[in-house]
């Protein structure tokens, strides 16, 4: 074994990747420095086009970095690709299972590719089909499965060999809530029971929170935050909405809410919105106090912070604005093309 405890199992230094498209350079990765220890469960959180997949594709040897270096399991991702591939599992953003094939056959062939005997490959296949509720869909062509069934199959294929390091690119896309929970359960178990290092990408702070000990927020190819989900959230607080019977009650409610430490209170007509750290813990007491004071709350809603909130806090831009700047470039491209077309 080349890596000992504590030594990072993933380490990147200035990891950079450029794409050239229409003579324009897109900086999908801009000098990422990362260290991930064995057994960590890390989520890459970021908006569309942030560079999450690009980073994963560099770490899994699929694309070469433009600059910088990365080591995975102690092996360099450009010089020692075969060794890296033997150490990792990867579930990409696309489908792992070929559309012309059957799910069972694809699991079996993946197990064989990793050196399992026929017997073991067969029993491992059955095990995974069972774990992801796919047994009854296993003998149909993948092209005829639903999106969520296909996604579950992708994840199952990625888990066949119980890799020491597992990369999951948006594993929960297209899954219904029940299957989402099951997936999270599988991932947590793998991490807890086998100490698998897991890096996954997501757009949902909730999911990052449910799964990962550590959240790395990526924007425009750069790390803009690296912390626990709890810390990212507590610095933002929950959004508590209180509705009252009248505007007067609402004003009284706002005054009460303002006593919560760190609260930021806004009143709109009969609705009081309170943004406060640990807002969900303070809400029950506040509701009781207001009822006792004769200004009862008629409706209550508590929402935890979302990716958008974290993002706004970190960058001062909302995700929508961020996407607009990204697509503004595309729009300019298109406009340019049209002008050329008109001139011709």
């Amino acid at each position: 074994m080349r890596n000992h405890e504590k030594k990072p199992v993933i380490r990147t230094v200035g990891l950079t990747r450029h794409y050239t498209r229409n003579k324009q350079t897109i900086e999908a990765g801009r000098g990422l420095d990362l260290e991930i220890a064995p057994g960590e469960l890390v989520a890459f959180l970021g908006p569309n086009g942030a560079g999450k997949s690009t980073t994963l594709r560099m770490l899994t040897t699929l694309i070469a970095p433009t600059a910088g270096t990365a080591e995975v399991a102690g092996y360099d991702v450009t010089r020692d690709r075969a060794a890296v591939r033997r150490s990792i599992g990867y579930v990409g953003q696309g489908n792992a299972a070929g559309h012309q094939y059957r799910g069972r056959d694809e699991l079996f062939s993946q197990a064989r590719a990793h050196g399992l005997s026929r017997r073991d490959a067969r029993s491992r296949t059955d095990e995974l089909l069972d774990a992801f509720d796919l047994t009854e869909h296993a003998d149909r062509p993948v092209s005829r499965l639903s999106g969520g069934q296909r996604r579950r199959l992708d994840v199952a294929i990625g888990l066949v060999q119980e890799p020491a390091i597992l990369f999951l690119d948006e594993p929960s896309t297209g899954l219904d809530p029940q299957n989402r929970v099951n997936l999270q359960e599988q991932v947590r178990r793998l991490n807890a029971k086998l100490g698998t290092t897991i890096v996954l990408t997501t757009h949902y702070l909730e999911e990052a929170d449910a799964l990962a000990g550590r959240v790395i927020v990526i924007d425009h190819g750069r790390t803009i935050a690296d912390d626990t989900a709890a810390a990212l959230k507590s610095s933002l607080g929950d959004l508590v909405s209180l509705e009252f019977g009248s505007a007067a009650h609402a004003m009284a409610g706002a005054a009460g809410a303002d006593r919560i430490p760190g609260a930021h209170v806004t009143v709109t007509d009969t609705v009081v919105s309170v943004r406060a750290p640990f807002g969900r813990d303070a809400a029950p007491g506040l509701v009781a106090d207001l009822a006792a004071a004769g200004t009862p709350v008629t409706r209550l809603e508590v929402v935890g912070p979302t990716l958008d909130d974290v993002f706004l806090n970190l960058t001062g831009r909302s995700l929508r604005e961020s996407n607009e700047t990204a697509s503004a470039v595309d729009a300019a491209d298109i406009a340019g093309d049209q002008n050329e077309g008109a001139a011709a």
Partner: protein, 273 residues
């Protein structure tokens, strides 16, 4: 009213953690190729009729051309025409191989194979070797289709004909895969190049019409086409003749395509991302 009290349970089966205690072991290159080949055969095994799709065109040619063929003094025109159609089927089928790969590139399953420990060379060779299966099945279908007509079945010659075509099919399959890898997720690039390439190859091999009366420049172009020598060898073999020089030339043309195709294919696969 009833109140249901639930507990947080360990509900999910613990299958991400393996119950069968087995360790993955290193895989040799031959086993790698075998695994890729076995996977490639799956769609054929599950749906054998799929092999016939690439045959639609050759069978149509056979049905529409054969009645037009003149009787020749040297024997049945069908005897001359069928080996050409067998070669054409091999050409069509092998050149389509990359289309499956194109589909896998777009859907994402190719990415999974690229990240797996399977050697890149094994990926290419295993996929190319698959071409042997349609080659054999398609040749048998054509022979069975024409056997009731003015066509003599020479079993040894037919087996020899298949053997001569194997390196060509595998090499062309490898080239088609290389093309798909180069085209990446732009499947139309694959189709444009594939369609542009096969017809000159076909016509310059004298598959449909003899090249005997061709002008000089056409002769020269045909002389450079390996498929031409293969077709000549196929005609001799299917007729039950065994002129060594013709067969050797055909086999040489086929092996050249095979070696060159695999070499280019492996290089392309090594650089695939």
């Amino acid at each position: 009213m009833t109140i249901e009290i639930t507990q947080v349970r360990d509900a999910a089966p613990a299958a991400s953690v393996r119950r069968t205690a087995v360790a993955a072991s290193p895989v040799g290159i031959v086993a790698d190729i075998g695994n890729v080949f076995a996977r490639e055969l799956m769609p054929v095994l599950r749906n054998p009729a799929s092999v016939l799709f690439a045959m639609v065109q050759p069978l149509v040619f056979l049905a529409l051309f054969a009645p037009l063929l003149p009787e020749t003094p040297t024997g049945s025109a069908l005897q001359w025409f069928v080996p050409g159609i067998v070669s054409m089927t091999a050409l069509m089928s092998a050149s389509f191989t990359g289309a499956n790969l194109s589909e896998e590139i777009v859907s994402g399953s190719f990415e999974r194979l690229l990240v797996s420990p399977v050697r890149r060379s094994a990926l290419l060779i295993g996929k190319s070797l698959r071409e042997m299966v349609p080659l054999v099945l398609q040749t048998l279908v054509i022979v069975l289709a024409v056997a009731p007509f003015a066509f003599d079945v020479h079993v040894v010659g037919i087996v020899g004909g298949i053997v001569v075509l194997v390196p060509f099919s595998v090499g062309l399959g490898a080239l088609s895969l290389a093309l798909a890898v180069a085209a990446k997720d732009q499947a139309w690039v694959f189709w444009t190049v594939q369609q542009t390439a096969i017809f000159p190859l076909l016509l310059l091999a004298g598959v449909l019409l003899p090249l005997d009366g061709a002008p000089g420049w056409l002769q020269t172009a045909a002389d450079l086409n390996p498929l031409r020598y293969i077709v000549d060898a196929e005609r001799a073999l299917f007729a039950g003749d065994y002129p060594m020089d013709t067969i050797a030339a055909g086999l040489a043309g086929s092996v050249i395509v095979g070696v060159l195709g695999l070499w280019i294919g492996v290089r392309a696969m090594n650089r695939a991302s």
